[in-house]
Amino acid sequence: MKRLFPLFLALSLSLSACGAPTVGDVGASEQFFAMDTIMTVNVLDENGEAAVQAARAEIDRLEQMLSRTREDSVIALLNTHAGDGSALAVEPELGALLRFAQSVSQDLPGCFDITIAPVMDAWGFTREERHVPDPDTLADTLALVDWRALTVAEDDASARLEEPGMAVDLGAVAKGFAAQRAADAIRAAGGTSALLDLGGNITVLGSKPDGADWRVAVKDPQDTERQLGVVSLRDKTLSTSGGYERYFEANGITYHHILDPETGYPADSGLLSVTVVSSDPLLADALSTALFVAGRQAALDYWRSRDDFELILCGSDGVVTVTEGLTFAFRGEEHGYTCETARR
């Protein structure tokens, strides 16, 4: 029997090697459609399944509240009552979200406005019937865009739109808000290592199971099969806005979906994409849209005025500007880009 021992040992080793634990053995993952995009939630520890379900339930709850295309959502009701003088009771978390959006509009004048919904409708971006609106329609809808005419009660418990025809669209903040709340739900369920991909808005919790930083690539806006580079980080959100995400062509001109609240036309600031990296998912989401409209210089000026986010700006001039607080491995050189570091 002794001489058979090495053979049994070899067999045992073969079996144990094949059954070695992997990340998938202790984690859970789910992909689903919500908020007009596709989302994937990965939680890579032993609390994975419960944490993933908690995150999904939270996202479903928020979609019910925030989607203006759902007739029974609070935002749809707010829009329906625009201009009738009545204040709609809202959850304080929604009141705070509306107030946050207004603060971004105040900080970056003319670059961000959640009351842009009528203009989005005029372009057909809401119902996916994209077209160039006629100038009169555009002017009429643009006159309805004014975040100051959205009144939120001091206690965040009610809100009202002051003019008939006004409407709120939370597309620029909903995914960030959802990421924030989903991350909270994952932590509450005991999850410590997670990656959430909410339609390209990436949030990472903790580190990878092996203790390493997460590595998140940033798409090349001119060829989304390629990457501008890779960011290494933990406990952060990366939110990217770019004209390549949703667009249409008419008469040889490409029109994208990020509208300038000042002109009503797609933003044309010279930037192809803006990636914001922050510990605050909501801030990252809102700023990626606002700074795409603002342009490179205004974006860097705003970055220098704060210390709670970093930037990767890809310009149509082929220059990728990365703020100094990021660990960024640039990969755009072979595709004609140059990289510069912005300092405070």
Binding site: L7, S14, G200, R215, Q227
Partner: protein
């Protein structure tokens, strides 16, 4: 003439293998173990090499699955269970949405998917085509944009 440092009288310890010759049974058993190990290795290892599987999922339900590298000629699949009718085309090594009745046409504009990890998504139809198989040649965990 001296041929070694050990006298002929010194007891020599012989290796165990030489104490008893292996039998045919030992050989068969060894072969069996090697075959088992090989079968486990190839059977349980992650998909790799030539395998490139496309899974087509409509609103959470698997509607078709193709091993793209096993295809020898183009295949077309009509998917009518979603909000808009669409036609998916697979051919050796790649897959795409050929036609879609959806208003945005983003899924058609995505073009061919041909690498493990690629996805084609039709939001209005809630349809996802996911490619898996050979280890994805990436050194990152996610992509923003």
């Amino acid at each position: 003439m001296h041929f070694g440092g050990r006298s002929m009288d010194t007891p020599v310890k012989r290796p165990a293998a030489e104490r008893r010759r292996p039998t045919i049974g030992d050989g068969v058993l060894a072969l069996l173990v090697i075959l088992c190990a090989a079968a486990l290795f190839f059977g349980l290892r992650p998909a790799s090499g030539n395998l490139l599987t496309a899974r087509i999922v409509l609103d959470g339900v698997l509607v078709a699955e193709y091993d793209l590298n096993a295809l020898t000629s183009p295949v077309e699949l009509a998917v009518d269970g979603g909000a808009y009718p669409m036609v998916i085309q697979a051919e050796p090594g790649r897959i795409r949405v050929l036609e879609s009745g959806c208003p945005s046409q983003d899924c058609v504009h995505t073009g061919w998917a041909d690498r493990a990890g690629d996805q084609i998504i039709c939001l209005p139809n809630r349809l996802v085509i996911s490619l898996s198989g050979a280890e994805a040649q990436t050194d990152f965990d996610a992509v923003t944009g």
